[in-house]
């Protein structure tokens, strides 16, 4: 059955783990991957008599998130969210309820669509359970092991308005949000480590009709599963409606392997969280001076950085936009800007940064990158050679690109040698040369290939084309 005649309505709740040195309410290390239960103390174990003390740096990161999402940053309060769960040591979670730190913002997608942000509030993370036994879930487990290292790690939950209309758009929102969170230094953005956890509220309706009954989907561990899960869930709901059935409001679990959602708990089983103000903490009222200081230190956000690059390239075609998005997403825009300011053509710097640089392998220094691009632009290095030089610079970032080129044997061909070689190639391939002369430009690639082969890659493709054009007359 198709989705025809239906509109999908999506709101996302994104939990972002803050990249602080210590936890939200105690001095324990906030780190992923340490041996279980090594970063714990009376506070994050919820031992009797322990008390929470708010981590100021976590508040600062939360405020940065609020500012980046155009929220109003307000005096706020912590509440207790009460429910029993073994990996939650106090059997309540300290969270924000009706007075969140950040309220009422927006996020603009790269295509210009604006998604409303309801709120971005602070809360503490729980520990992590591992259930031994066949089910892999708490029910039916033979034993459960709990690691409290994550207990008390600071989180900001970013709640969007139900403004998204497709899985693709939800994915774009999550990607842009991730870029913003990383840009403000709030998180490392590692979805696979749980640094960002996404829940999706999905409903379907006929356009113009009131919202349908929504289901919340959990366990979305990648942007890809987010999109897939939403698309699956929307189709499931449409199928139910088309079959004359009703949608039950419930929480559903995304099964990545099976590619489907399944019931976790229904609305009837929903907890009564008995929220009330956390008496162990005082109201959180950020001082004006501090807020101003944070606002003044806000970094440029991805949207602004993309615009800066587009302006630099003087282009706004889709191909350039795609390259720009890649470069900003990988934080490579400073290299492109430096190369451009040093005189290299922006478009070439952009293309090389997007396609040849890989931070995990290592990045060239700014000057080395700029010089390499400049050498290619001037024809001293061919594209192939420039790429090879960048490959070496990954591990020797500050080396002189010209020295690297020499080391690789990329000595520039003398003009004489080039011209002689081209002449020989044309002579050996008269038929192709005739067709080229008659206007079949595609054959330029053929001749470049031949010249490259004859010169073992040392020729500059642009110089070859220039000579071909000159000879054609």
């Amino acid at each position: 059955m198709s989705m025809e005649g239906y509109e999908t309505v999506i709101g996302l709740e994104v939990h972002c783990e803050l990249k602080t040195a210590s936890k939200l309410f105690c001095g324990c290390r906030n780190a992923f991957g340490d041996a279980p239960n090594t970063n714990v103390c009376p506070v994050c174990l919820g031992l009797p008599g322990s008390l929470p003390v708010l981590n100021r740096h976590a508040v600062e990161l939360a405020i940065r998130i609020g500012l980046a999402l155009n929220c109003a940053v307000k005096p706020s309060n912590f509440h207790r969210k009460n429910y029993f769960y073994p990996d939650m040591p106090k059997d309540y979670q300290i969270s924000q309820y009706d007075e969140p730190l950040n309220e009422g913002g927006s996020l603009e997608l790269p295509d210009g669509t604006v998604i409303g942000i309801t709120r971005a509030h602070m809360e503490e993370d729980t520990g992590k359970s591992t259930h031994l036994g066949s089910s892999g879930r708490i029910h039916g487990a033979e034993n459960s092991l709990i690691d409290y290292n994550r207990s008390g790690v600071p989180l900001v939950e970013i709640v969007s308005e139900p403004d998204m209309r497709s899985g693709v758009q939800a994915r774009a929102y999550a990607a842009e949000l991730r870029a913003i969170l990383m840009a403000v230094g709030a998180t490392d953005g590692r979805l696979e480590e749980g640094s960002m956890r996404i829940d999706a509220n999905v409903s379907v309706r006929k356009p113009g009709k009131p919202f349908g009954t929504r289901c919340e989907i959990k366990n979305l561990n990648s942007l890809r599963s987010l999109q897939r899960a939403i698309e699956y869930e929307a189709q499931r709901q449409v199928n139910l409606l088309e079959a004359g059935e009703r949608i039950a409001q419930e929480t559903r679990h995304w099964d990545e392997a099976a590619g489907r959602t399944g019931t976790m708990r229904s609305k009837e089983e929903a907890y009564d969280y008995r929220y009330f103000p956390e008496p162990d903490l005082v109201p959180l009222v950020p001082e004006e001076d501090w807020l101003a200081e944070i606002a003044a230190s806000m970094p440029a956000l991805p949207k602004q950085r993309r615009q800066n690059l587009l302006d630099l390239c003087g282009a706004d075609d889709q191909a350039t936009k795609d390259l720009v998005a890649t470069v900003v997403d990988r934080d490579l825009d400073p290299l492109v800007i430096e190369a451009t300011l040093a005189g290299a053509p922006a478009a070439l710097a952009l293309a090389r940064a997007a396609n040849e640089l890989d931070a995990t392998a290592g990045l060239p220094s700014g000057p080395s990158f700029a010089r390499t691009v400049a050498l290619e632009a001037s024809g001293t290095l061919s594209a192939t050679q420039a790429k090879a030089v960048l490959g070496v610079l990954a591990t020797r970032p500050t080396d002189d690109p010209e020295a690297v080129a020499k080391e690789l044997g990329f000595e520039q061909l003398s003009d004489d040698t080039l011209l002689t070689t081209i002449a020989a190639v044309l002579e050996a391939n008269p038929e192709e040369w005739a067709r080229y002369r008659d206007g079949d430009d595609k054959l330029a690639q053929f001749f470049i290939g031949k010249v490259m082969a004859a010169t073992k890659g040392k020729a500059n493709g642009k110089a070859v084309v220039a000579e071909l054009v000159a000879r054609r007359g």
Partner: protein, 473 residues
Amino acid sequence: MTTAIELAAAIKRGERSAVSVAEEAFAAISARDGEIHAFLSLGQDHAMEAAARVDAAVAQGAPLGPLAGVPVALKDNMCTKGWETTCASKILEGWKPPYDGTVVERLHAAGAIVVGKTNLDEFAMGSSTENSAFGPTRNPHDLTKVPGGSSGGSAAAVAAGFVPLSFGSDTGGSIRLPAAYCGTVGLKPSYGFISRYGLVAFASSLDQIGPFTTTVADAALSMEVVAGYDPKDATSINEAMPDFTGALSKGVEGLKVGVCADLLDGAAPDVARRVAEAAAVLEAAGATLVEVAVPELKLGLSAYYLLAPAEASSNLARYDGVRFGLREERDDVVAMNTATRTAGFGAEVKRRIMLGTYALSAGYYDAYYGKAQKTRTLILHALDRAYESVDVLLGATTPTTAFGFGDKVADPMSMYLSDLFTIPSNLAGHPAISVPFGTGDDAMPIGVQVLAPGKRDDLCLQVAAVLEAGAPR
């Protein structure tokens, strides 16, 4: 009975050895605590070692803390490192905290010798110490009477002469009521003056640690040692403390004392008579008596019995059998939680957890918890208004003298009424002190209560010193 100040001075001068003082304390406990049952556990080995260290310091002429060599008892809801802390509950039986609470640390630093942990109503919920899972404490003045509660063991330990100084916690009167019943001084300090870090929470917004002593001067000295800002408690007040000891000699000349009928309403005639005599003592010492009506105080009891259970229902959630204390093994986690809590908590604790859970439940929150919070604010404002015309308020600590075992167990409401006069200070976060002032018709001790505005614990001590000097012998 030697006071803490006298003992510390004698030890400092080398007239007494700390070891002999500690030995005497343990001998007295061993002789009489079998019938009184003030203590749940003793720490003789550590105490004797600590006393020997004090003596060594005296011998070397090393600097001594203000309580060097003074035996001290702690209510068994204060965490002591490696020393069983039970809250008089089966659910915590055998639990040894891995840390010392801030008060315990400060007492150690001051040279105090912690001799034992005292009995209480389970989780400090009660007014008679009959709710201890380990049997009641008896009133040293009459073994057929209760010592009051919930800090009954701490009050009895001082009243019996086992120690000159003990600490309890006061959530709705749990220091002042047993102090009155046992004939000791009992101070509930301003909320935030003494760190709650390491105090096992009953109702976090109301709990406050305070001393039991035989003299007002010892209470002032105790405050010098344990009061003051603690970064581990977010509700701790970060301000200079008043001069507690300096207040003792100020007298009451020119002070306006509000004699408050609402702190006498329903008091037995012998109690009311003693309060009138106390007022006369203050007037004779130069104070001006002013009749003050604060009818809102009567509302305190109802508000308290919603707010305190609400917070308790959340604070006591962590006793779930997962991490520490009692665990009743079952096949799944929910059954284990339920069985553990069913077996581990006594009737009064269960009653309050249920009351509090109900008060916070969706649909009832506004009517119960919300309204109680408003009442709390009302009482605070009413007291603020009263303090515009008077410096302190004078009233009874309790409506009657100590009652007999079992007298009120069957009727929780009549037990709750014992806290009528003490609760307003907890709701307001204000200090209040109970001073022994003669006996009743049954020859049992009577306490009169001095209430002061927030952060004016010095005023409580100032007035209490005059009452102490003028008390009937």
